[in-house]
Amino acid sequence: MEDAHAGEQPVRPVRPDEGGSWQGPGAPDRRRRGFRWTTMLWALLYPPRGHRVYPTISGVVLISLALGIGTAAYNTSNNILFITLALLLSCLILSGVLSWMNLSRVSWRFRLEPALRAGQETVVTLEIRNEKRLLPTYGLRFEVAAEGKADAPALCLRDRLDPGGGRVSLERRWRPERRGRRAVELVSVASLFPFGFLRKSFPGDLRVEATVWPAPVSYQEFPVLCSARRSAGRPVERVGQSGDLLALRKYASGDSHRLIHWKASARTRQWLVRQFSSEHQDGFSIWLDPSRDLWPRPEQFELMVGLVSTLAEDLFKRGRLGRVTIGAEPPRLMRRLQDVEALLDRLAVLEPVESRTANESRGPGRARSVLVFAPEGARGVAAYLDGQKAATA
């Protein structure tokens, strides 16, 4: 069984310092392409897609003045008027040159705070860099759209951006509405610099997709969840490092290097780690069935996903989360924080699947301490532990 995102790249939130590559006129890939006069001249005649130049009120006045003075100059052959016309036209040219210089070798990229959650406010940072040697950059306006909506005010570069690699960060607050892969996009970059005659606008060419985890939900916890069997002895943060040695198993991401069985790994030419009995002694397993038959209502499905993610986090914090199984996917061992993050990444993009095959519909079978989820009423969701209600949301 495959969900809608099965074919995509691995799902993970954007970490700090990896908010996307630099884009813009000063981006490294553009600089590698180099400057060509022919390209620039051609761009003047036939602007690239999305590049727009609008006259502002000052620009309209200037153009009207130039037209009026030009008409008067031709009508009267007066050279003073021709001088004025020439000055006005060269000021327009200067305006274009300065605007081009202002934008050249400037690049930008997004930086997103990690662990985006639906319904929780986060900060989208647009980092701008000026790689020019001499000239600062002024007055850029960035229109940022999150989740396809550009309703927030544009980000403005208010201060001078110094040359020589000067950087500045502009921040915008964003509250993701829903879980999933959400895009933050730089819709356009605009500038009125230098004289405010023309508003030059061009596409930002910058789009970052971030994974938004499900929103945490409040749930009611029943005693069965609290009083379930706990293993004797000292509770440990990380399961699987104590108890009797059961077997060897394949290395999984997050396993400690100390668990690696070097001899067996060398013999079999694959990484093998020691598996202890404590891996299965304590904690709960979560079994999640995303079938559309079980969850016909989308809002109930969303609530279920939120409850699963919240329960998983809470149980992990208590050190009582063993493994999580989603539908027909292989079970996920919850040993380290990264495992929980990977689970939340998966839950972020989880969608109802069409039907349950006989194999899938088996459920957790005879396994114990397994939390399963089922609709409760028209809106609610309940978690059952070994047939007893453990939590409701």
């Binding site: 003045l65 050279n79 001088i83 036209l89 403005c156």
Partner: protein, 737 residues
């Protein structure tokens, strides 16, 4: 570590914008000085308002709200009243503009108000430039452009620095205006500025000027033949006395004015007479204490009206076949009569004009006085002192009896007493003999010089009777008007037709521009007496001139040698002005075509020269190849072949990169110094280290900077520094761990 430059705050940018906007308003208001529209009061108001709001930027908050509400109706009312009173459009417009500037200065401005200041200023500068065509216009427009661009740049930066434009609340002082210290702000601007950016800005502005000049030269021109509309919006008053009614003292008043009246630029300087007389107005009627143009002569002048013409034909009065072109740049405010040395073949104007032409009297007069500089070219101009007048000769000899009344050049409107006194003086100087006109003129001028001296401080003696007769009877000093008027009366009393002519005499030769500069101080009056045969002969009775008719060759040569040469900074400035007139003001389609064909010729000549040079060099190579080859020849040929092969291989291998490799070879050599490179690397590592002040590290940084950017050092002196750098960085790294 690169020191971070300071940033100006939004308030400081606002203060700069306020200062620059005020300066722009005052600068543009001052251009109205050149317009002579009676706006001195408003100019002073703009200046005072500008100074006040700069000194006390909170001042506009004291303007009550009702004043802002009433501002627009008041300005409109002032415009209406002023227009009703003066009936002149342009001066009223200028005055209202100045009033608007005052209002904008004493109120806090929003972006649109800033834009209004720029537009109002541009209007003032352009109108002043168009009407005066002065060289100052170039300075004004450049200063205005620089100031406006800086102002608009600041406005854009201010707008970029704030989310939205705050509303202007009357009575409330904006934050930026509460505490302004211009000295402190200047220091902050210095600290925040980078001289390299300022230098680049200056360079870019110079580029704007160059591009403007190129655009000015290359914008296609068409001769539409329309006149300037601004002419009709202003009534220009002559600042000189060159009208058809000259009272005694008018010409003398002009002589105190040292401003340039007109400039003459001619192809062949040898055609310039020793002392040129520039005729403007002919006055034939003496009455009411002055000479004036009689109604008959005025009728002859106005009988022929040429409307909106670019050319005026001089008929038979000029010298046909004379290709010398005289270019006149006639300043505004002199007169509607054009200065001409005599008859002409053709006059071409720089724009279509309406004018009168009286061929016999050689008068060319525009209908209205030009409000701006007038350029015109004269060909076939006769500079002689004898002006043939066939119609008058026919009249004098009784062959032609005119149907209409004609000017009477013998008329004396004097009382019998005054007439008797004149006749007695005529008898005294002629001995009772009827002398030919030229001889009479010589004796009369001598007689006048014996009785009167020349002085600018002259006055008519008091008493009864005609004032000029009173002066003749006295021994008091006189100036050109008295001498010319006195001579005219004497000649008429003797029965010779005579007329008084006013205009300019002489001119200073400017060696820088190679042109003749005629100033208002050279205004003059002289006479033309009928020679009894066929022509009018120039007589200048003023002491110092004593000329009757054409001067002899020796006299003319002496006069040419004695012509005053202008030198010094004043002459340089005049030369600049002539350059402005020749190359800018007078630039037209013809000049543009000449320029284009000159550029084309230059390119063609260059290509021809290159071809010739190439052919010559190829021929030399051919000769060298054909001559018997020695060992040295073989070696040279081998080296050349190898060099060419290497070059060809580089081009094929690297393409355009080969050219880049060659161009940057010098720079690469500079960058290729391993010691500098190594010092740069250590500097970067040193910058990455953190920590408090460390004298050893500072010394090391100084040494590395010296190696990186100072004089080239030998490796033996550089290596110990690098060893030290290595030790310091290791110690720091360990300390950090």
């Amino acid at each position: 570590m690169v020191k971070k430059r300071q940033q100006l705050s939004l308030d400081e940018l606002q203060q700069l914008r306020w200062a620059l906007g005020t300066a722009l308003a005052v600068l543009s208001a001052w251009t109205a000085f050149f317009l002579d529209v009676g706006a001195e009061l408003w100019i002073a108001a703009v200046t005072l308002a500008g100074a006040a709001v700069l000194r006390w930027p909170w001042l506009p908050s004291r303007v009550p709200a009702w004043a802002h509400r009433l501002a627009f109706p008041v300005i409109v009312a002032v415009f209406v009243v002023d227009f009703y009173a003066s009936r002149e459009t342009l001066p009223v417009l200028v005055r209202v503009e100045l009033l608007l500037l005052v209002y904008r200065l004493v109120s806090y401005r929003k972006r649109r108000d800033d834009l209004q200041i720029v537009i109002l200023g541009l209007f003032l500068v352009v109108v002043a430039g168009v009407l005066t065509v002065s060289l100052f216009f170039a300075v004004q427009i450049l200063a205005f452009t620089a100031c406006s661009l800086g102002f608009l740049l600041l406005t854009t930066l201010v707008d970029a620095g704030r989310a939205s434009e705050p509303p202007v609340v009357p009575g409330e002082v904006p934050g930026w205006a509460r505490e302004v210290h211009w000295g402190r702000l200047a220091a902050r601007v210095r600290a925040a500025g980078d001289w390299r950016v300022v230098a680049l800005g200056t360079l870019l502005f110079a580029g704007v000027v160059v591009v403007s000049a190129l655009l000015f030269l290359s914008i296609p021109r068409f001769e539409l033949g329309n006149s300037l509309f601004l002419d009709r919006l202003i009534k220009k008053q002559s600042r000189t006395g060159f009208s058809d009614n000259v009272r005694f003292g008018d010409v003398t008043n002009i002589q105190e004015d040292e401003r340039v009246a007109f400039t003459v630029d001619l192809d062949d300087a040898s055609r310039l007479p020793g002392v040129p007389y520039w005729r403007m107005v002919v006055l034939d009627d003496y009455r009411d204490n002055g000479f004036r143009m009689s109604p008959e002569l005025r009728l002859e002048l106005t009988a022929r009206l040429s409307e909106r013409r670019l050319r005026a034909s001089g008929g038979a009065s000029g010298r046909k076949g004379d290709s010398t072109t005289w270019r006149f740049y006639y300043e505004p405010g002199v007169s509607r009569y054009l200065p001409l040395a005599g008859g002409f073949h053709e006059v071409r104007f720089n724009r279509a004009l309406t004018f009168h032409h009286q061929e016999a009297a050689r008068i060319l007069a525009l209908v209205t006085e030009p409000a701006e500089l007038l350029g015109f070219e004269v060909t076939g101009m006769d500079t002689g002192a004898v002006l043939p007048d066939a119609p008058y000769a026919e009249r004098e000899h009784g062959r032609n009896r005119p149907a209409k009344p004609r000017p009477d050049y013998r008329r004396l409107n004097l009382s019998p007493e005054d007439r008797g006194r004149l006749e007695s003086w005529v008898a005294e100087l002629t001995g009772g003999v009827d002398l030919p006109a030229e001889e009479f003129a010589r004796r009369a001028t001598q007689w006048l010089a014996q009785r009167h001296t020349y002085s600018m401080e002259s006055a008519l003696p008091p008493g009864a009777g005609d004032p000029l007769v009173r002066w003749l009877s006295s021994n008091g000093p006189g100036h050109c008007e008295f001498f010319a008027g006195g001579f005219a009366l004497l000649a008429r009393a003797a029965g010779h037709p005579v007329r008084l002519v006013t205009g300019f005499k002489g001119g200073n030769w400017n060696a820088f521009s190679e042109s003749l500069i005629v100033r208002n101080s050279m205004a003059h009056a002289w006479c033309e007496v009928w020679n009894g045969r066929d022509a009018w002969v120039r007589v200048d009775p003023t002491p110092g001139a004593f000329s009757v008719g054409e001067p002899g060759p020796e006299v003319a040569a002496a006069q040419a040698r004695g012509r005053r040469l202008d030198s010094g900074w004043g002459a340089r400035f005049d030369g600049l002005r002539v350059f402005w007139y020749r190359r800018v003001v007078n630039f037209d389609q013809g000049t543009q075509l000449e320029l284009a064909s000159g550029a084309k010729r230059g390119v063609q000549d260059g290509i021809r020269w290159m071809r010739e040079q190439t052919a010559e060099h190829l021929k030399r190579v051919e000769v060298w190849l054909r001559s018997p080859w020695s060992g040295a020849t073989w070696i040279t040929a081998l080296v050349i072949t190898l060099a060419l092969a290497l070059g060809a291989w580089a081009v094929v291998r690297y393409g355009r990169g080969a050219w880049w490799w060659l161009i940057t070879a010098g720079r690469r050599r500079e960058q290729g110094d391993p010691i500098r490179r190594e010092a740069g690397r250590w500097l970067v590592r040193l910058e990455a280290l953190e920590g408090g002040p460390d004298p050893e590290r500072d010394q090391l940084r100084a040494d590395l900077l010296r190696l990186r950017y100072g004089q080239p050092e030998r490796a033996a002196r550089a290596l110990p520094v690098f060893t030290r750098a290595r030790r310091v960085t290791r110690l720091q790294a360990r300390a950090r761990q």
